[in-house]
Each structure stands twice: as structure tokens, then as C-alpha cells.
Amino acid sequence: MLTARNLARYIDGRPIWSELSFSIDGGERVALRGPSGSGKTLLMRALVGLDALDDGEVLYRDQRLDEWDIPEYRRLVRYIPQDAAFLSGTVRQSIEQFYTFRANRDLELDEAKLERFLGILKLPDSFLDKTADHLSGGEKQMVAIMRSLLLGPEVLLLDEPTSNLDEAMVARVEALVDAWMDGDPERRFVWTSHDTRQLDRMTERTIKLDPASVRQPETSSQA
């Protein structure tokens, strides 16, 4: 269970979201909806501890975020940002880099799985020997999602995962995430998208960020 209790985040004293609570169980497919600027990205970053929370707590497997060894936690709860980033070397080197981290020390790059994922995404093997600056924005995004899934996380936080993709590519990424979900009943994801039909298609549940309902914190003194 990934649980958020009373989360709040302020920027310059203005609440972006507050009193935000939800929990996400194994197997769930959750949409995170809200208008631009409602803090969807900030929430995802906060859930993996890349940003600070101003209030509330995040729990995973009944353990608070500050009780977790953060690299171990992030191995299980994985945030995938909208802008994919790479090393200056080849795509394969960018993928292999993750296996050098201590938190992933018991993992090994599974070539068969890599092969299968490349197949689902309909990307040729030669892809891995290219440098990232030879990839299109859409290709980068697909590779970024694939390399994350190879590490076998339990929770995926996908921030606009198909924003740079054409229609054919979108279907393949959706198929890849479906295949990953089928691998283990503990797996679950949160997905943001501007494409509401995609959210209807991919998810079963919604967490809504509604700026109109955000209350001013009681302790704040407005100047």
C-alpha cells in the first residue's frame, strides 16, 4: 500500500495542494487529474522524495518515507519524469549505469526481457548502440520508460509518459505498461496525461487535484 496522509505543499506561502490523502493498492491503475499548474508533477516528485513536503507523510509498506533507506524506496517506487535524460554515451550505457548503484546491486540487466520490451515497443536492437542525441523526443521517452521497467519497480509514477509520442507509439507504450502490470499483482501505477481519453482507457480510478478546493492553511498569516 502506498499511502499519502494530509499532504501539503506551498510555494511562496500559496498552497499548491493541501490536506491531500489517498492510498494506492497493488494492482490499481490510477489517473492523476488536474488542470495545468495544479501540481501534478510536484506531487509525483514529493512521493519519491525528490521534493520536500510542507506537511503530511508518505507511507509505503506501512513505513514512513523518512524511515526508509531512500535509494531502496526509490527502487520500488519509481518516478519517471516527462523529460527523459541520458548519459552522453550510448543508450545501452545509460541503461547499464543504473545497475552500478548499490541499491540495485542484486539486479542484473536481463537481456531476454530487454529483447521482449524492445519487441513490444517495435524498436530495433541497433537502437541500444546509438547515442541519445540521435534519438527523437518520442524515442527517448520510450527508452526511458523501458529502462525503468527493466529494473522491476512495484509502483510507477508516470508523468505525461506519452507527451512526445505519435499515435502508433502511444499504443506501444500502453502495451508495455500493460505487460509490466501483468507480471505481478503487487504492481500499480499513477499516470498523468492531457489526453483524457487515454486516462479513461488506461486507468480505473482518479485522484483529483482541484486548485479551487485548496484551502488556505489555518496558520498562515496573509500580508
Partner: protein, 267 residues
């Protein structure tokens, strides 16, 4: 100073030397190159600063008070620590303290080891040795610190996406920062390493030249130059490492988060 064989420079000789520059300033004015102002300001600043330092040094060399000498050393280290930060493009809270602590610690450690252990100066605070050695070590450590700090902050800002991608995939803060730290250290050490590479071939180092002008045998001057280069390399490496590691602790929090919000552009 029993074997001083150098020519003492009088005031009219100084004026003659200034004439060399005045000719250039005149040329700049005639050709409207706009170089005159900078040259005049630079020349005046240099002359005034050196004259003042000369007076202070003259006084300290005469009194030979260890406390005064140490005070002078502390002021030099303080100025170097501040100057190192002032050359950087970005800042974070506490950056001045980081710079002051590392430059003082590394310069006093290296210079202290040199005057007591290597040169065995007696007394150890003899300003004839302590002050010039410290000055040279500080000047180079300053460059290493400012280059290292600049590269570290630049790297964290420019490579933020990749650093956070690594963190998101299970990297500890040390694993995520490692490449930036490596690059910052390398950048900070480049001038020192380059100087050692070309020393004596392309450039005759200033200190050695000065000793030769003052009548020292070239081979003796060379020995001093070798010792000072080892000191400079050791101190610059130590200072750059120290300041980069302190920056790392400030820019990567203990809960493995990149704290780029702490970096401010210099206004």
C-alpha cells in the same frame, strides 16, 4: 641579505618603467581603442596595492612578532577565501564559510609542513619564508577553489535531469553526485597540472626568476621552485577537494535529494 648582488631600483627607474605603459596608453587614445581607462586603473591599483603591501611587509619583517606574522597570514587567507567565491558565477548559502575554512585549513597545513618539516626554518615563523610561501600557495588554491566550485554548481544545474533520473532509479546521493565531483576536481586542478607540465620549457616561473635576479644560483632556485610546486599542487588538491565535498553536502541532502533551489545566480 649578505650576498645581495641585485640592482636596487630607485624612483626615477620606476618612472621610466611607467613610461613603457604610458606610451601604450597614448597609442590607445590616438587609435580610440578604449583600452586606456582599464590600463590606467589597473596600473594605479597595482602600484598602490604593492606599495602598501611593501610597507606592511617591511614593518612585519622588522618587528618579527610571531603574533603579527600569524595575523598577516590569517588576513591573507581570509582575502583569498573571499576572492575565490567572488569569482564564481553562482552561490549557495554558506559558500563563503566553506571557502574560508578549506583554504585556511589546507594552506596552513601545507605551509606549516613545509616550514617546519621540509625547509626546517628557524624560527618557524620567519616571515622571509612563511609569508611568500603562504602567498604563493594561497594564490593557487584560490584558483582551484573558484574553478572547482563553479564547475560543481554548473554541473548540478546543467545535468539536473540526469542526476535526478539516477536518484529516481536508486542512486544514493554520492552515486548521483560522483561524476560532478570528479569533473569539479579535475577542473580545479587543471591550471596546476598544466603549470607543472610546461614549467621550465615554455615558462620560467616567477619565483625562480626572482631568486635568480636576487643573485641565487640557478640550481638552488630550481630546488626552491620544485618544493613550491609540490606545495602548490598538494594545497590546491586539498582545498579543491575540501570545498567541492562541502558543496556536495550542501547541494545533495542527506535524504538523497538534489537541492538546486539553494543555488542562486550571482546578480
Amino acid at each position: 641579505m649578505e650576498n645581495t648582488t641585485y640592482i636596487v631600483i630607485g624612483n626615477w627607474q620606476l618612472a621610466l618603467a611607467a613610461l613603457l605603459l604610458i606610451v601604450n596608453i597614448g597609442l590607445s587614445a590616438v587609435l580610440r581603442l578604449g583600452l586606456g581607462r582599464d590600463l590606467i586603473v589597473g596600473a594605479v591599483r597595482m602600484t598602490v596595492q604593492l606599495a602598501l603591501v611593501g610597507l606592511v611587509l617591511e614593518w612585519i619583517f622588522q618587528t618579527r612578532q610571531p603574533l603579527l606574522i600569524l595575523l598577516m597570514a590569517a588576513v591573507m587567507a581570509g582575502l583569498a577565501g573571499v576572492a575565490a567565491v567572488q569569482r564564481t558565477k553562482r552561490r549557495f548559502p554558506g559558500v563563503y564559510w566553506n571557502s574560508l575554512v578549506t583554504i585556511s585549513a589546507s594552506a596552513f597545513l601545507v605551509t606549516g609542513a613545509a616550514v617546519t618539516g621540509i625547509l626546517q626554518v628557524d624560527p618557524w615563523y620567519d616571515p622571509q619564508y612563511l609569508i611568500p610561501l603562504l602567498g604563493m600557495v594561497l594564490g593557487n588554491a584560490l584558483t582551484g577553489i573558484s574553478l572547482g566550485l563553479d564547475r560543481m554548481m554548473e554541473g548540478c544545474v546543467r545535468n539536473r535531469n540526469w542526476i535526478e533520473t539516477m536518484l529516481s532509479h536508486g542512486a544514493s546521493r554520492w552515486e548521483a553526485a560522483h561524476e560532478e565531483i570528479r569533473q569539479a576536481l579535475r577542473t580545479g586542478m587543471i591550471p596546476t597540472v598544466n603549470a607543472m607540465m610546461i614549467m621550465g620549457i615554455v615558462s620560467l616561473p616567477g619565483m625562480m626568476t626572482g631568486q635568480i635576479l636576487a643573485g641565487a644560483a640557478p640550481l638552488d632556485a630550481v630546488r626552491y621552485q620544485i618544493v613550491i610546486m609540490f606545495m602548490i599542487a598538494a594545497c590546491t588538491a586539498l582545498a579543491t577537494l575540501g570545498v567541492v565535498l562541502l558543496a556536495y553536502r550542501m547541494l545533495f541532502s542527506a535524504d538523497h535529494r538534489l537541492m538546486n533551489s539553494r543555488i542562486r545566480e550571482k546578480k
